[in-house]
Symmetry: C2
Subunit: 265 residues, 2 copies
DNA sequence: AAGCCTTTGTGCGAAAGCGTCCATTGACAA
DNA sequence: TTGTCAATGGACGCTTTCGCACAAAGGCTT
């Protein structure tokens, strides 16, 4: 028995879900499963077919490519504004990227096959997915430019602000090592850049966590890429009802052996 | 009166067109217009709505972002294997990138509205477009990684081979300056890299043109990105009937005031 | 309280690429 | 033929980042 509160929470915690027509939403709802995604968990591997899609509630998922040398580069990130695994909705080949949870938290899981069928039906849901797909592509384009032209410091500012906008809190649970993986730079490069930003009072940090202190000034240190993709996402997400006391913060620490935990269904 | 030869040429000069079902193809054919696209011509601007889409026959089109500092970065390239302006088919916002012809040549032009309608009808054409869209996204992902991690020399090798595969000739009409724009690096950086590759007998070049001499060895100098996206495209395109004596080579020189020239219709 | 392991701080030299400048050289046009 | 201009060849010091190595904490476990 899925209660009405379940329903209310699902649609108000993810922007895509909240934008569905009542009909589409009702069709999807019985198949949504509340899960808690631990940081570090891989939702799908590069080259593997996608079994489940995820509508993040408070978590953030990073789409990454791994170079043959082993270095990672983030090509996009998805939070409350989107859907992880959209490639599965369109059929086609498995994606070449990997989806990894970077900020742990709740999400709504649905079978990929279901969303694929809903998409092929066309209509409002299809339009919504295509629209999100385009915004994802825009992110990736900007990532290419950003990787090529902008400094570690700019990109770090960008990253922190974007994460903040997506999770809705000033503090994010990340080590400098993880940040380095996202940016595709050395860990010590992050240490230096973060040190500068801290010295100027723009951010604060301790082991395994970084906090945005002065978002406005940090925004002026970020590259244009933030203003093109990160900020719009932040404003889009603002009108979402905030879910009180998520699992956030607790789920992020021991990132090795934790698997997604079903909260209902 | 559109002759049968017109029909044969269209479907055999572009991979997407050749993959259409007879029905879809017949519906599209009366609206296809043969145009000659001069190098340097912009097919659509960033932020502008797309009026026409293009099925390249012998030309190659570069999708680019311009940073606020003025530097360009290529996020994808499209040749005979694809369609320029696919964003228009899905509705949504105008793209944030620009589409610019880098290798002049023939293409088939169609009204964006028409292809959009055909897409929303669903069916085989829709699947085809979604599939190509995904391959475009794969390219962009790889571009992000490539920009971040690989050397000018590797990326130059990659670029030359990819272009060669798309146009079907070993020689491509490009100045080092134009190559530099594509890679997002200095012009003199290209000079140095090209000099090394020439010294080793992998490529040859003169003013305004570069030639692949030893594709196999050049491939081993290119980064993995070539093998992930450029080479597959090359093999996919191979089964296309080669069109004899295209406008290629002539259309590439005076790249300022030339507008697309209708060859029929 | 002690020990341990992860995370952060820091300091090298090396390498790649940048920005800028100017010399040389093709190729086209007058 | 000659003039002109775009395209290529190189050089300079400078900045950013890399790759590596090691020291100094912070925080959890026992």
């Amino acid at each position: 028995m899925l209660s009405r509160s379940h329903e209310a929470v699902a649609s108000s915690s993810n922007l895509l879900l909240s934008k569905l027509t009542p009909l589409d939403y009702q069709r999807l709802l019985p198949h949504l499963r509340a899960v808690s995604l631990p940081a570090g968990h891989t939702l799908y591997e590069a080259g593997a077919s996608i079994q489940n899609v995820y509508f993040p509630a408070q978590c953030v998922v990073s789409l990454r490519l791994t170079a043959s040398a082993g270095t990672d580069v983030e090509v996009a990130a998805i939070g409350r504004e989107g859907l992880v695994g959209i490639d599965a909705c369109f059929g086609g080949m498995p994606p070449t990227h990997r989806a990894e949870v970077i900020i742990g938290g709740k999400a709504w899981q649905a079978p990929a096959s279901l969303v694929r069928e809903d998409f092929s039906r066309g209509g409002a849901l299809g339009k919504l997915l295509l629209r999100f797909n385009q915004s994802l592509h825009t992110q990736t384009c900007q990532a290419a430019l950003c990787c090529r032209l902008h400094s570690v410091e700019q990109r770090l500012s960008n990253l922190l602000l974007s994460l903040r906008n997506r999770v809705g809190t000033d503090e994010v649970s990340l080590t400098q090592e993880e940040v380095a993986h996202m940016l595709g730079v050395r860990r010590s490069g992050v240490t230096v850049a973060a040190g500068i930003l801290r010295a100027e009072g723009l951010i604060e940090y301790r082991r395994g966590s970084m906090t945005v202190v002065d978002a406005a000034r940090l925004g002026s240190r970020a590259c244009e890429c933030y203003h093109v993709v990160g900020k719009p996402i932040g404003t889009a997400v603002k009108d979402l009802t905030v879910i009180p006391s998520p699992h956030y913060g607790r789920a992020s620490r021991p990132r090795y052996a934790r698997l997604p935990i079903a909260l209902s269904g």
